[in-house]
């Protein structure tokens, strides 16, 4: 069962939309289409990481990106199958 290759296959936990950088042209397109931003927080994150500035990712940004990239309610084992309160 064991494979040395398995050790190398777990990729880093890079999250969707964790960087948020935009080129000048892209920024212009976004600014003209208010519907692009799913929420005010998303716009704030994109604005804070404008072209030419060093992008930053805060813990709140990660939570926001995760929420906005939500894949839907997962099929997964319920907590009550594993342990009891």
């Amino acid at each position: 069962m064991r494979s040395k290759g398995v050790r190398l296959l777990l990729v880093g936990g890079a999250l969707v939309a964790a960087t948020g950088c935009a080129t000048g042209e892209e920024w212009g397109i976004w600014r003209s289409n208010g519907a692009h931003f799913a929420s005010g927080d998303h716009m704030f994150f994109s604005v804070r990481n404008r072209e030419g500035t060093k992008p930053t990712v805060t813990r709140k940004d990660i939570t926001l990106a995760r929420d906005q990239g939500w894949w839907g309610k997962p099929i997964t084992v319920g907590q009550d199958q594993i342990l009891e309160r």
């Binding site: 296959l9 777990l10 084992v77």
Partner: protein
């Protein structure tokens, strides 16, 4: 909005910790009250220092393993591990995927859960449960919903202490712990996993991640 600098301190959601009144026995409630500070510290540590994982709601607390008949309470946490799609990882069988996750997170979580000396010192704490969950990368074709794979690792306190003291290595921890697996909602039963040292959690940094100045990740 333009020009706003910095970010207010970001606190983890308190709902990751099971409220005291949700427990079903006084023993569990007593543990939860006695170690509330340690539970909050655990929640904050995972939130800030391992930001690519998500602690499940009401998953931090003192729970009874489902397979035990007595009210033996284990400190438990359940995390969802976010990771990039990887055809190579997806091509592994479930056992190897589970082994990889165990190797990367089980030992790390055990060490993190016992940072507060009072946890191990409390005779009411019988052991530790780490529940690791990740998205199955080929699981959604038929349902349209993401399918998660899960392993639950039950470590009785004597085994935890042996591991934490260095007497037991990660591979022996995997052999002696009880590990149950699930493919979505389907129980796979007990798994016997290989395990190896993996320091990813201690070395990986999300690019450009700005740690809250009040967070402590040492």
């Amino acid at each position: 909005m333009l020009g706003l600098a910095g970010a207010a301190f970001s606190a983890p959601e308190a709902d990751r910790i099971l409220p005291v009144d949700k427990y079903t026995t006084e023993k569990a409630r007593g543990l939860a009250r006695a170690h509330l500070s340690a539970l909050r510290d655990l929640n904050a540590y995972i939130y800030h220092c391992v930001p690519w994982v998500e602690t499940e709601k009401q998953s931090i607390g003192f729970f009874k393993p489902k397979y035990l008949s007595e009210d033996d309470r284990y400190l438990s946490i359940r995390i969802f591990i976010e990771q990039d799609p990887s055809p190579a990882f997806a091509a592994l069988d479930h056992g190897n995927r589970a082994a990889a996750m165990f190797s990367r997170y089980a030992g790390f979580l055990l060490k993190t859960m016992t940072k507060a000396p009072a946890i191990l010192a409390d005779p009411g704490v019988g052991g530790f449960i780490t529940i690791l969950e990740w998205r199955k990368q080929d699981g959604s074709e038929r349902t349209g919903r993401p399918v998660h794979e899960t392993i639950a690792v039950y470590v009785p306190k004597p085994l935890a202490e042996a591991y934490l003291s260095g007497k037991v290595k990660i591979d022996e921890l995997a052999r002696r712990a009880i590990v149950l697996g699930w493919d979505g909602e389907k129980a796979l039963g007990e798994l016997k996993l290989p395990a190896w040292d993996d320091n990813f959690v201690y070395t990986y940094k999300i690019p450009n991640y700005k740690l809250d100045p009040e967070a402590k990740c040492s």
